[in-house]
């Protein structure tokens, strides 16, 4: 039985967690576990990649940069997908938690994109002989980074973050066009960047000894991303509550009739 009871739409369970108070309780309970899993898996995967994974027959030890670079790239793109989904939900259903989540995701995605760009540059110098080329893959990921920065800037451009949510969400959704461009850039254009080797339709073009630490680090980064986004979402909920409390106080100036149970 994996169906939902008749007459009860599947969205209702999700909607319960969308209640900010409930989300605070739920996220507070899972956050330590998510953070611990992220730390443990990331350290394990990176250690594995640094110490135990074999060096590549062409690239030597520089291939170890991949264990940071590729999972960071997954988070950069996956994070933007999350940002776009949260923005869509916020735009369509006007749910404040979705807007708060979008604000929370953007800086995390920006940091992972920065890691992807920096490590890519550090890998490109010894392998390609250049820190940077303006080709389709690198440029589209740089655009992704600027989309994150633009979202952060727009979110903070209004005194009231609730008013910033709508333009920021529109920016995030328009920018989502960039995601397939990044993904397929290595197929559509000639580029120095190598094509996909993990997510191929046939067998992955990558040896199992290298694939395993890569996937462990990827899982670790995913949990790290989730933990950071959860903390920041909780912060956003609390800040919103603080603003609401201040607004409520300002709205009832000096009415002695107000019940003050002191």
């Amino acid at each position: 039985m994996d169906g939902t009871p008749a007459g009860k739409p599947r969205g209702s369970a999700l909607h319960r967690f969308a209640n900010p108070g409930r989300f605070l309780r739920f996220s507070g309970a899972v956050l330590p576990w998510v953070a611990a899993a992220g730390l443990a898996l990331s350290v394990t995967g990176l250690w594995w990649g640094l110490v135990h994974a074999p060096r590549d027959w062409q690239q030597g030890d520089t291939v170890r940069i991949m264990f940071v670079h590729v999972p960071a790239a997954w988070m950069a793109m996956g994070g933007y997908l999350g940002l776009a989904i949260a923005s869509f939900v916020g735009l369509v259903w006007r749910h404040p938690l979705a807007d708060i989540a979008a604000r929370a995701i953007a800086p995390v995605g920006a940091v992972f994109t920065a890691i992807c760009l920096i490590t890519g540059s550090l890998w490109g110098k010894p392998m390609w002989g250049t820190w940077w080329v303006w080709d389709a893959r690198l440029t589209s990921v740089l655009v992704l980074f600027f989309l994150y920065l633009g979202h952060i800037a727009l979110s903070n451009a209004f005194d009231d973050p609730d008013r910033a949510a709508r333009p920021a969400a529109i920016l995030a959704l328009i920018g989502a066009v960039n995601l397939p461009i990044i993904k397929f850039s290595v197929d559509w254009w000639n580029t120095l960047h190598q094509p996909a080797s993990v997510t191929r339709l046939d067998a992955p073009g990558i040896h199992i000894d290298i694939l395993q630490p890569l996937l462990v680090t990827g899982a670790g980064f995913l949990f790290v991303f989730a933990a950071l986004a959860l903390i920041r979402t909780r912060t956003g909920i609390l800040e919103r509550r603080a603003r609401a409390l201040m607004a409520a106080r300002a709205a009832e100036p000096a009415t002695p009739a107000a019940p003050v149970p002191v």
Binding site: G21, L24, R25, G28, L46, L50, V51, R55, G60, D61, T62, R64, I65, V68, H69, A72, P107, V108, V111, A114, I115, I118, T119, L122, W123, K125, P126, V224, A227, L228, I231, R232, R234, T235, L238, E239, R241, A242, L245, M246, A248, R249, E252, A258, P259, V260, V262
Partner: protein
């Protein structure tokens, strides 16, 4: 760890900064996020403590 491990086949200058920068940026973001969370929690507690009206919320 022997010297050849740290040398990374002559590419130490590229491998180690990759790991260091990734860890450094993530730790910095984690610290900033946690500080922001604590500050927001303090702010709500302060307003709730001094303000009338509104029962205490379920912030934990």
């Amino acid at each position: 760890m022997d010297a050849s491990f740290w040398a990374m086949g002559g590419h130490a200058a590229f491998v180690w900064p990759s790991y260091a920068i990734a860890v450094g940026l993530l730790v910095a973001l984690a610290v900033a996020s946690w500080r922001g969370y604590l500050a927001a929690r303090r702010e709500v507690a302060r307003i709730e403590a001094e303000g009338p009206r509104r029962r205490r919320g379920g912030s934990q």
